[in-house]
Subunit: 348 residues, 2 copies
Amino acid sequence: MAATLHDVARVAGVSFKTVSNVINNHPHVRDTTRAKVEKAIAELDYRPNLTARSLRSGHTGAVTLALPQLSLPYFAELADAVIEAAAKHGLVVLIEQTGADRKRELEVMASPRLKMSDGLIFSPLALGQEDADLIKADVPIVLLGERIFGSTSDHVTMQNVPAARAATEHLLDLGRKRIAVVGAHEGEVIGSAGLRLRGYKEALEGRGIPYDDGIVAYVVDWHRSNGAAAMHDLLDRGASFDAVFGLNDTLAQGAVRVLQEAGFRVPGDVAVIGFDDLDETRYTLPTLSTVDPGRSEIAETAIRMLLERIKEPAGTPPREVETAFRVVPRESTVGSAAAGSHPSPTGQ
Amino acid sequence: MAATLHDVARVAGVSFKTVSNVINNHPHVRDTTRAKVEKAIAELDYRPNLTARSLRSGHTGAVTLALPQLSLPYFAELADAVIEAAAKHGLVVLIEQTGADRKRELEVMASPRLKMSDGLIFSPLALGQEDADLIKADVPIVLLGERIFGSTSDHVTMQNVPAARAATEHLLDLGRKRIAVVGAHEGEVIGSAGLRLRGYKEALEGRGIPYDDGIVAYVVDWHRSNGAAAMHDLLDRGASFDAVFGLNDTLAQGAVRVLQEAGFRVPGDVAVIGFDDLDETRYTLPTLSTVDPGRSEIAETAIRMLLERIKEPAGTPPREVETAFRVVPRESTVGSAAAGSHPSPTGQ
DNA sequence: CGCCCAGTTTACAACGTTGAATCGACTCAA
DNA sequence: TTGAGTCGATTCAACGTTGTAAACTGGGCG
């Protein structure tokens, strides 16, 4: 059994409260006493029981991160960033996967388990604007993403509209005139898909190019296969385009694959840009141009806001923060330096 | 402030212990009393304080998962699987990223935070066989991976040698004779790289093919760019081969990319197989043949063993479990059905 | 020589929960 | 009618910690 304050106290010959005082750097502890206690702590390999400390102090040193699924690269990289940001503040992160299921997303906020952490960073995918009132829990919440605005929680979001506009303008600046969209959501206005489509439209409008629904491909989910399916769809309906804006990197990758299979050169025939700046976009063929939406800034801001809210729950009114973005041009729009010139393997 | 047992008791007009009994389905509670209490619970929206429960009961309902980094797809998918497996048992998962740093890996086991969970699932990347004695903590540990065998902890591992042998045999069965390896580790014997290389050698031996170090490319890390670098290396030294065994999928993807850039057709000129069955291998061009090492079985076994160990710490001696694997042939070795036959877009 | 005060240490209660032991009331059999 | 037994509910202690307040120590000063 692990040693407790009492065990240490017995060995050191002091009261257990003195041991507690030593551990918490209480000012009035005689040096000789401190030394005795520290010796006993080392001897017994004492480690404080954080559960007891939590019960007493009311906070746990953990935060919950609720997201759809870690096997989706965007969320894996988001989780990585959140864990790193939390670690800088001595916090540990507990991850809940909601599977983008509405019931699970509501459960996460209602679960007693949530109280095993001091706050919730919540990236919903099933809940939407109409559920803004349901965003509440026993701990402070920082909301991520674009599905819900104007709740009573703090909110960190990327600048979807301006970023998508910039991505589109990047393609226009390269002389592309007919920019297809892969990954729109039917009828959506306020989610990532809706906002990014709006940025796309704004960019066209800014250049006086009419919007053509005939080169916009709709999907249901932003999974890998859907980008491919959407591109198949575009090709099947005989759409004419010289560029593609994939509303996220995963979709863009699927689209690139189908384009290449169909015999198009990227970016020669069709330039492609994605959105998210996933790590893997640096290693595809061709490397994928994309938009860095400021993921680490999102994570750091979320942790910072959560900590402020934990310290001062009713302090300021709910805040909405938008992070800085950056267009990342790579081979899929601006082309590669040169094809490799390696000696041929003789085999087969 | 959240309601406690005492608050509920006051409202229901019973002692707080009776409320506790209702919550824990204690047998001897009159129906009328139960109803009164349940009404009060609903009225106050009472939720048990799990921290207090943990302190009293000695377990938390959480497990820690320590891994190098979530932005590495293999570990993201592992974490996904572990969280799902844990959820089936009502456990929640707390993730620690070690960054493959030796000091951090040791810290994870020594940290008092670990006691905020009931057990540790630990996938080390810096610690090695010589550190087997250091694998211990205040909670039960289940070790994952191939870096450490014979510690005092339970251990779940994939069948690296037979699986790598099967992957190699898959290439041999397709008539390939000169199989390059991408991702070997200099001098390593017991880690994933060493074991998979051994499986490769066994396969060659089984067919009477001599091992040729000239078509084995060494790397330091298994990051995406290293597969590309290793393939560049092979091409630069004029190696001759008709197939590639990437020791993991990420390396294989990098290798494929460089092969295609250099003008080789995959699998026409060079067949490529990876290892891990990452989700994304289903969506690359060509789709990547690989080995499914039994990730969900690893996760489920780890959780199950951990729970057994939590219940009965000193029960059985340490166990080593190997999960079932499966070669997954895809386009990068067996070729695609047919190139797409889509109408041409007229643009650009 | 005794008192006061600063410095140091300690006793006690509390955080919210559960297990063990206790207690009262009621039923049933002798 | 009484004792045993059962059901139902309560009291008490404990998990390991920290905050509050009280108690002790010694030295300086009147």
